[in-house]
Amino acid sequence: MTLQLILIIIFGLGAIWFGWRVFMTSSMVRSALSLLASMAFLGFLFLALEAEFLGVLQIMMMATEMSIMAIFMMMYMMDPGGMSGMDMSHQKKPSIIAASVTGALVVLVILFTNWGSMAVTVPAAARQNHDLGIEVMKRSMMIFETAGVTILVAMIAAAATALVYKKDMI
């Protein structure tokens, strides 16, 4: 077993464990922080897979996003501390069946696919960043620009959705 494989397994188990804890705890803060930990382990996993820029980006973005999410959760939950032991789930059995069937099917596809030869080495981190920048500015520029416009649209849509509308406002 190589060091990379060991790291992948450790970080992957961490991500899965905290992802599972998100829905198994009744305290909302714990749930948001578990999601933060799961996403951070995902970032470490990217680092272990030698995608350094993506790993650091993932950790930084998710840390901010999940902290904001924790605040929103406390604002909107009926029982944010989970002290009264409310059950916040419905249609449990169908969801467990749907999730495990989907997961099992995907695992079967993974195991019975011939993936061909594996790449042993990847370009160095600086080289990756350079080539990713070239890619973004050349061939995939349209997609990247579309992502930028989508961010703008989502910002306007979010602000417009959250506004208060009164009858005598207009």
């Binding site: 993506l54 999410m69 449990k92 749907a98 979010a158 959250a162």
Partner: protein
């Protein structure tokens, strides 16, 4: 071997996220499930880049796009939750049956 294990981790994360998105009643918890599913997808993309096409950077580009989608989903979702909480006083999907009419 590494590729398969990484993909299986992604599949398990996707399954957990699907369970959460289907079973939770609170809008914010449903969004958490969707985030976990998108996380599994990103892991798949990174694994494909690392083990199959390390010279193809459009894969890394798509990881950036998925990350953007995660942030936007959170932003629009919180806006909907804010408006829903303002008008109805709760973000429970069980109490949103008025949307059916």
């Amino acid at each position: 071997m590494e590729l398969q294990i990484t993909l299986i981790i992604g599949a398990i994360l996707f399954g957990i996220g699907l369970y959460g998105a289907l079973s939770q009643t609170n809008l914010v918890m449903i969004m958490m499930g969707v985030e976990l599913m998108l996380g599994g997808c990103m892991l798949n993309l990174v694994a494909f880049w690392r083990y199959l096409h390390p010279e193809t950077y459009s894969i890394q580009m798509f990881v950036l796009v998925v990350m953007t989608v995660m942030a936007l989903e959170a932003a629009v979702g919180f806006a909907i939750a804010t408006q829903r909480f303002r008008s109805k006083g709760s973000v429970e999907s069980e109490e949103a049956s008025d949307l059916k009419e």
